[in-house]
Amino acid sequence: MSEFIYLARRYPLGLAGGVILLLFVLMAIFANIIAPLDPLTTNPRASLAAPGTTYMLGADMMGRDVLSRLIHGARISLAVALGATFIGSGLGMLLGLISGYVGGWFDLIVQRVAEIMQSLPLLVMALVITASLGPSLVNTIIAIAIPLIPNVARVIRANVLSLRELNYVEAAHAIGMSNTRIAALHVLPNTLAPLIVLATAQLGSTILTEASLSFLGLGVPEPYPSWGRMLSESAAEYMRTAPWLVIFPGVAISAVVFGANLFGDALRDYLDPRMGD
């Protein structure tokens, strides 16, 4: 507990970021209890209702409560954002590490495939993948995670290439340490900083990619709400007439990205012993 207080005092911004993320996660878990109304029930008379007492953040075209949809939408949006970022960064890190450390033909193949993947826009890649896997939550996560892999792999590979030349890696060879152990003990921990920065930066774009996929009918199927879809469905038509349909999902996405960035920065500093004193 005293450790926690100490950390909270050292990283107040990180604490704020962590609290924001925690609130959203709790919101997603207890959506059934927190949400004031059913997110799927339509009400023709409340179509595009402005924020008021019944519909605190307004209602959409079909008269569904925006607040309740936001609360329930946290489930899909967070699952997609965190799931895709974790899977994409994890696999990308592994590939980048092997690619940079082992080199040779493995590196050559991985880098060429990464280039091919990077030449296609994220959305097009995800489209092709979901189209072949079919729409569902898990497939959406996979579809968004795969295009992230090459970005992460390339950054980590570049980092590994420079780390590999450092004296402490050479010293580890000189004491007879195996390559696997050197990679795990001396190289991998030193790639954490760029990995965390990269992962937190990707978080926002995964939410938006999910929105585009859902908008095209290839993401999580209707009528389940996600922030991305709430935003993309109404951005074009209702920005002027019912701005609350655009603003509130946008605020939710920004808040999660903001929280993740603050938390990620603090985590990076905490894991770096040089920032210790």
């Binding site: 402490y168 050479e170 580890a172 000189a174 001396h186 921990p189």
Partner: protein, 318 residues
């Protein structure tokens, strides 16, 4: 002999090369031979880029040599498979120049020093801790500093950690690659004294790589002077400092600043730079900069000759 190196060569593949033309290789080491006795120090001197560090790394097989033989305690290790090599690594270690990049910033000093023990099967935690503590004290650090991270130490202390790591497995030979060049002069003396004390206690041998002649004179029993991948002069320390024979060695010695302002020698400066190891001059590699160069030096490559007992020089004019 603890270590015998014979005609060691290392050519790095060149870069570039157009239209399938094989690029010229970099001749980093071009036929180097020397030997180190048990408990003795060989100083390896030369300008930067002459291949001294490559020699040090090749001996430990951190770089695979292109040709030549390396015999350690009588065994040829030049082509030894890496599995067998692993056991030998206990007996030969390295200390680097840069005290910053030689320690992993994310690991505690104690773990860094204990790592060789862990790799070579000292499984018991308490035993490892006790040994690490003893190593810390031997290199003049306090046991309480084991839990600190590298950035919390000064350059000299970091070099002591490196030395403790190298000592952990009880080696016979330590390749010291410019171990004090990055340190303040006062700290240099401390680290050198530590290394010399350890040599006496442990019967250690050093390959002491440096460009600092004063330091080399102080620590070495024998000195080899390198120029562009070759040894140009090789003799006992006293002899080479009293009577340098090769024009390059003479020029190096003349360039050492004298601490005595009354004793102003006429300095003979070398013009030009070290030529590229890709496009080496024909004949004697040193002839474009040599004040005494003759026609013969431009054509014919001088072989190392024993001019006096135990004093080898590669120069036509000696």
């Amino acid at each position: 002999m603890l270590l015998e190196v014979n005609d060691l060569r290392k050519y790095f593949p060149g870069r570039g090369g157009f239209f399938g033309k094989t690029p010229d290789p970099v001749h980093a080491i071009d036929g180097v031979s020397f030997a180190i006795q048990e408990g003795k120090t060989l100083g390896l001197v030369g300008e930067s880029g002459c291949g001294k560090s490559t020699v040090g790394r090749s001996i430990l097989r951190l770089i695979e040599p292109t040709a030549g033989t390396i015999r350690f305690e009588g065994t040829d290790i030049t082509r030894m498979p890496s599995k067998e090599m692993r056991n030998l690594r206990k007996r030969m270690q390295i200390v680097f120049q840069d005290p910053y990049s030689s320690l992993n910033p994310r690991r505690r000093a104690g773990d860094i020093v204990a790592e060789p023990l862990l790799v070579h099967g000292v499984e018991n935690r308490t035993e490892r801790r006790a040994k690490t503590q003893a190593l810390f004290e031997r290199v003049g650090l306090r046991a309480a500093q084991m839990d600190l991270y590298p950035h919390q130490f000064s350059g000299g202390q970091r070099q002591r950690i490196s030395i403790a790591r190298a000592l952990a497995l009880g080696p016979k030979l330590i390749v010291a690659d410019e171990p004090v060049s990055a340190l303040d002069v006062s700290v240099q003396a401390q680290v050198i004294n530590l290394m010399m004390d350890l040599q006496e206690q442990e019967k250690l041998s050093y390959l002491f790589i440096s460009h600092n002649l004063a330091v080399v004179e102080h620590v070495s029993h024998q000195v080899a002077v390198m120029y562009l991948g070759r040894i140009v002069e090789y003799a006992a320390t006293k002899r080479i400092f009293e009577r340098p024979l090769h024009p390059y060695t003479q020029a190096l010695m003349a360039a050492v600043p004298m601490p005595d302002p009354a004793n102003r020698r006429r300095k003979q400066h070398l013009g030009g730079d070290v030529p590229s190891p890709v496009n080496r001059p024909k004949g004697c590699h040193f002839h474009p900069r040599c004040p005494l160069a003759q026609e013969r030096c431009r054509v014919e490559d001088p072989m190392p000759r024993e001019v006096e007992a135990g004093h080898q020089v590669a120069c036509h004019l000696v």
